[in-house]
Amino acid sequence: MTEQATEKIDASLVKAFVYSTKNVLNTMVGVDVELGKPSLRHDPQPSYNVSGIVGFTGDVVGNVVISFTGETAGNIVESFCGEKMSPQSEDFSDAIGELCNMIAGNAKKEFGLNAGIGIPSVVIGAGHMIARMSDVPCVLIPCKCDVGNFAVEINIKQVACLTAEVK
């Protein structure tokens, strides 16, 4: 991200991802996730080489990237699917995409807004870049667990609240 962000990110949106990341990894992969201190990410490169990307629509727009080291992604996929998989196989990307879908979906529920999520995309390889919104900061939450390190990179903003769900 080269331009200066002009808006602040809503802390409740970030908190929703803290909850959902821990919940999904614990339930589906069986690991406890320890979250580090959030920081701002100012460049388009994700933290690691494997990115699960989910776009948001509706009252919340932007995208969230779950960025894994290759080793962490491999370990997580193995625990999630019950078998080791090559990063080149379609099932590897499918598994990473499904986990990211669950993390985004769970967070969306916590928003209490009328937001939608897209079908997740998975990109694998060194040096890839993420197109992010420049008017809101990208918040990076470092995560570690027994199977390795990963990061949640949140670049979303609320654009309306008139359709907020009655809780």
Binding site: K108, I117, E165
Partner: protein
């Protein structure tokens, strides 16, 4: 028993398969989206249970459910989805879903919902 699994994620279908494989005489059919799900039903005849994701390409699970219910009011359908907001759950129940499981889930939780749904479906109305 014929069970149709409809999810665009093969990983998720494999997880469901492991859960339902414990059921007696279970024949599993799979589809990757709502369109494929409808085609599978029309080619294979009625099924005894459908596990159905919501967000899928080509045709989403809610649309498929509504189309299934145009002709078939009785086949038990369980939505298994990340869509967890109350209004979405109400939409699915209104469209004819018999039960609802929010991802993430434990295998035991899904198994219990399946048993509960099949038990209810076997009781006389």
């Amino acid at each position: 028993m014929k069970i149709l699994l409809v999810d665009d994620s093969r990983t998720m279908r494999n997880i469901w398969k492991r859960v339902v494989s414990g059921l007696d005489d279970c024949e599993i059919l799979e589809a990757g989206d709502g369109q494929e799900g409808l085609k599978t039903i029309s080619e294979n005849g009625p099924v005894d249970l459908v596990l159905l994701d919501w967000n899928m390409p080509n045709m989403d699970g809610l649309t498929m459910l509504k189309k299934v219910r145009e002709n078939d009011k009785t086949t038990p359908v369980i939505m298994v989805t990340t869509e967890a907001e109350k209004l979405r759950i109400i939409d699915a129940i209104k469209a004819g879903a018999n039960n609802y499981v929010v991802k993430p889930f434990t295998p035991d939780a899904l198994k219990s919902k399946i048993n509960e749904t099949l038990k209810k479906a076997s009781q006389p109305a």
